[in-house]
């Protein structure tokens, strides 16, 4: 195996400086970065571990919002009663990711940071309006998970930049999330396609509807056409329209696991199911 320098900074300025060097890659739980290293897909000059940085392990929950530190693992997130109470739907999705051994290393922020084309958490964060706080050589900035996920990998970060935390906004009254995924196996399998819906649900119907899908475009993305179809409150006709709009928007690939046509069909079905569970909740 190729050797690398392994740095484990305990201060933010040191971490930023180490990561600004050419050939340096950041590591949190290592599920993505060390897997790529072991497969020979990357050959880093140095690996900079971020888990010893101040406050990265903090999970702050209050009705005004949630802050998930970059070092918080999926295991910790799922186990925190205060988080489960505020965002039970996200906790339920995180609890189904991969396996216990992966969840004890994998961080929620890393799941977003790695910029895979497939993720269970990114679409859910997209419909919640989650944001990332980034620190780097140029100071601090924030961007939405939706903007981050527009490019693959860590393309949204400049050299030396580190995501410090993910923020979930205050939960609107009546806001609900439904998530539906389809994978070839029940356990330990990434979804082929998945759909997350977030909406304020009232007796009159849906408001502020957000739809995000995995497997429809190159990256997990919001689907404006499906959102527009549901803007009128979500009567029966518009539910069907939204499902067709999502299927029409999707440009999924065909491979040995499923044809593009089948995936498109699935996306429509999953959206209908997700909307059904939102109603029933």
């Amino acid at each position: 195996m190729f050797p690398f320098h392994y740095h484990r900074p305990t201060a933010w300025p040191d971490a930023i400086q180490l990561l600004s060097r050419p050939g340096a890659v950041a590591k949190m739980g290592g599920c993505d970065v060390l897997t790529k290293y072991r497969r020979g897909q990357i050959r880093p000059e140095s690996v900079v571990a971020l888990h010893l940085l101040p406050a990265v392990g903090e999970l702050r929950t209050s009705p005004a919002g949630v802050q998930i530190g970059a070092g918080v693992s999926l295991r910790q997130l799922v186990a925190a009663p205060s988080f489960r109470e505020l965002w039970p739907e996200i906790a339920a999705v995180a609890a189904q990711v991969a396996s216990p051994a992966i969840r004890s290393a994998a961080t929620a922020v890393g799941n977003v940071a790695q910029g895979w084309e497939v993720s269970d958490l990114v679409p859910v964060f997209q419909v919640c309006g989650a944001e990332l706080d980034v620190v780097g050589p140029g100071g601090e900035r924030s961007l939405t998970v939706d903007d981050y996920a527009r490019q693959p990998g860590t393309g949204a970060l400049n050299p030396g930049e580190i995501i410090a935390r993910l923020r979930l906004p205050a939960r609107q009254q009546g806001f609900r999330i439904a998530y539906q995924r389809f994978a070839l196996r029940d356990g330990f399998d990434l979804p082929l396609v998945s759909v997350a819906v977030g909406a304020v649900v009232t007796a009159q119907g849906f408001a502020d509807v957000r739809v995000a899908a995995v497997g429809g475009q190159d990256m997990p993305s919001r689907c404006e056409a499906a959102e527009a179809a549901l803007a009128g409150g979500g009567d029966a006709a518009s539910l069907a329209q939204a499902a067709s709009a999502l299927a029409a928007w999707a440009k999924p690939p065909s491979d040995f696991r499923a044809s593009g046509e089948y995936r498109r069909h699935l996306l429509g079905v999953l959206l209908s199911r997700a909307l059904g569970t939102l109603r029933a909740q």
């Binding site: 195996m1 190729f2 050797p3 690398f4 320098h5 392994y6 484990r8 060097r21 050939g23 340096a24 290592g30 599920c31 060390l34 897997t35 072991r38 497969r39 000059e45 140095s46 690996v47 571990a49 888990h51 295991r75 991969a98 396996s99 216990p100 051994a101 992966i102 004890s104 290393a105 356990g187 330990f188």
Partner: protein, 176 residues
């Protein structure tokens, strides 16, 4: 200092493995799976896929299952590491999980077994009365090419019963 031209320096570290303190000299990029096998003699820790996909390298780090194939050894200095070697007691008796694996024919080639045992142990330490689904979730990341899983699930459920029936495990429950 140019990182590219300098070879990473080796360092002497102390690891706590199965209750034993072991000193090893390692390069900074060394992964736990290699250090456990080569420097600590823990050959129960298997390496199947080498990339987080099979669970054969599962060990417990501070009681939590971790994949040793993607864990830098430097990250677990000061942690309590447990491998399948820790299961057998000093007088040679097997752990109830090991006995159940034998009794239920949950072992064929044996390559997945240490990882299965550690995933099962982590579950039973957190949840002494798991349902079948909870057992299946606990070993979801552990692949077995031989048994078809049914016997492994059965063995872990049986071990839970055996452990639950032992007086030292019942006392806290009865007190609560």
């Amino acid at each position: 200092m140019d990182a590219r031209t300098q070879k990473p320096a080796r360092q002497v570290v102390e690891l706590e493995v199965d209750g034993e303190t072991i000193e090893a000299t390692i390069a900074p990029h060394r992964l736990l799976v290699d250090v456990l096998r080569d420097a600590c003699g823990r050959t129960s820790v298997k390496e199947g896929c080498e990339s987080a996909s099979c669970g054969a390298c599962t060990v417990l780090v501070d009681d939590v299952p971790r994949l040793a194939c993607i864990t830098p050894a430097a990250d677990v200095i000061g942690s309590k590491i447990r491998t399948a070697e820790s299961l057998r007691s000093s007088d040679g008796r097997l752990h109830a999980l090991q006995e159940a694996f034998i009794h239920h024919h949950a072992v064929q080639c044996g390559f997945c077994t240490p990882g299965m045992l550690m995933a099962g142990l982590a579950l039973l330490e957190e949840n002494s009365r798991p349902t079948e689904q909870e057992v299946r979730d606990a070993i979801a990341g552990n692949l077995c090419r031989c048994t078809g899983y049914v016997r492994i699930v059965r063995a872990i459920l049986a071990a839970a019963q055996t452990l639950g029936a032992r007086p030292e495990r019942r006392l806290p429950e009865m007190a609560s």
